[in-house]
């Protein structure tokens, strides 16, 4: 027993002592919805609600339910009502917020 202790002692002396030991690692994740704004910057209505035009026309489908006014995300990640942005791109094919060329990334209701 004594012999073994002596051996391990001598081994410890050769290794440099650790300054500190990592005992716990906490990682923190941040998240947000994948759209830069929740208000359509063109008509100023929440993107999740119907745009001003659709509200005014109060479009109804065959089932007499309000037709959903879909949200449209561009490649630049800016979002608008599809109705609002499609009227604008007829005039200029640029994102109204960042002036990048407008191309649709995805549509959603």
């Amino acid at each position: 027993m004594d012999e073994e202790d002596k051996i391990s002692d001598s081994e410890n002396q050769t290794k440099p002592e650790k300054m500190f030991t990592l005992k716990r690692w906490n990682s923190v994740a941040m998240w947000s919805w994948d759209c830069s704004t929740d208000t359509c910057a063109i008509c100023r209505v929440q993107v999740m609600d119907a745009c001003l035009r659709c509200q005014a026309e109060s479009k109804k489908d065959a089932t007499n339910k309000d037709v959903t006014c879909v949200v449209c995300w561009g490649e630049c990640n800016h979002s608008f009502h599809h109705c609002c942005i499609s009227l604008w791109v007829k005039q200029s094919n640029r994102c109204p917020l960042c002036q990048q060329e407008w191309s649709i990334q995805r549509l959603s209701s």
């Binding site: 063109i42 008509c43 100023r44 001003l52 109204p96």
Partner: protein, 151 residues
């Protein structure tokens, strides 16, 4: 009749009241939301300081896809303001974006007063004096400031 343009203008008005930018104010005329009256106060540390400059803003049913027509009613002496009060400002023409509202328009015009662009003059005399004889330019602007108190 409520149209998308009119509803948008109601929202612009609400925003202007809830979050008023300093040095500008505006409101629709009593019987027509498509025509607004506005006032821009001359920015501090510019020859326009203390002036109260009145404007009219006329919208079409195509707003916000088309910019409104903005015109100074008060007499102006500025390189980018025409004799009839019309304003030469890119964001009111080819650089218009449907994300602009009345608040953005008025603050842009306010900053145009501080930073004229003498390279695209609407008033050649004002542009020339701004570049070559700043003292005379300031004198002519001050005369407009005083005139703005009266009209």
């Amino acid at each position: 009749m409520s149209t998308p343009a009119r509803r948008r203008l109601m929202r612009d008005f609400k925003r202007l009241q809830e979050d008023p930018p300093t040095g500008v104010s505006g409101a629709p005329t009593d019987n027509n939301i498509m025509i607004w009256n506005a006032v821009i106060f001359g920015p501090h540390d510019t020859p326009f300081e203390d002036g109260t400059f009145k404007l009219t803003i006329e919208f079409t049913e195509e707003y916000p896809n088309k910019p409104p027509t903005v015109r100074f009613v008060s007499k102006m002496f500025h390189p980018n303001v025409y004799a009839d009060g019309g304003i030469c400002l890119d964001i009111l023409q080819n650089r218009w974006s449907p994300t602009y509202d009345v608040s953005a328009i008025l603050t842009s015009i306010q900053s145009l007063l501080s930073d004229p662009n003498p390279n695209s003059p609407a008033n050649a005399m004002a542009a020339q004096l701004y570049k070559e004889n700043r003292r005379e330019y300031e004198k002519r602007v001050k005369a407009c400031v005083e005139q703005s108190f009266i009209d």
